[in-house]
Symmetry: C2
Subunit: 128 residues, 2 copies
């Protein structure tokens, strides 16, 4: 069964992660990610596999955005958890702009703590 503590632990993980992004702290950003994370990022390429590729995406993001509390915020967070697998989704406010990106996280609990195994960030396409 899912427990309130699982949702709370995942909310806390998301809060630590967003604070690390806002500071530009790559160690904090990657702290709760598995080695073989599969990342679908906002810009190309189609997918990034592995923690080194994941880390590079954040280096690029830090080079193009200003550090501070408005850099990266997650809104309308919804979590569905069991005691082993969970996912979360929300909307992203980047640089203080109106929310214009979407976030989905996939998580697995190992050795009593939660790890992110999959991330999907995107901006909706403006189709003609």
């Amino acid at each position: 069964m899912s427990q309130p503590t699982d949702d709370a632990a995942i909310l806390d993980l998301i809060a630590r992660w967003t604070e690390a992004i806002c500071r530009g702290d790559l160690e904090g950003v990657t702290a709760d990610r598995v080695e073989d994370i599969v990342m679908f990022d906002v810009p190309e390429p189609l997918q990034e596999r592995g923690i080194e590729a994941y880390r590079r995406t954040w280096g690029l993001f830090f080079a193009h955005t200003a550090a501070g509390p408005a850099r990266f915020r997650v809104e309308e967070v919804n979590i569905e958890s069991s005691d082993q697998v969970a996912f979360a989704h929300g909307l992203l406010r980047i640089g203080g702009d109106q929310a214009h990106c979407r976030l989905t996280l996939g998580l697995r609990k190992k050795n009593g703590r939660w790890w992110v195994t999959h991330e999907h960030h995107s901006m909706p396409a403006q189709l003609g």
Copy 2:
């Protein structure tokens, strides 16, 4: 604990869904979705909430693509499941083109069967 039967049931759900999309069968496409599904679709808007909005996104897709087995294929499917919550991700080949979209599904088991509560479809942005 997750069971091999959970992964198999989710793979089967994805297969039924993609076959319904290829046929243009809206009843089949929406069959395993919850009433309050949250959909992040490839085109705008930022998010769609509820089964009626979800159904409309597929009506639009059907109007712009040709029915047939190449209409919508999911590749490189990866599933993480427990006995209650699961997520899956993969790449999308649409209309026979090279994979150029990404898919993440969030699922919950209710009354002994799996339901999709969240979908995130996207195309990577070409940033300048």
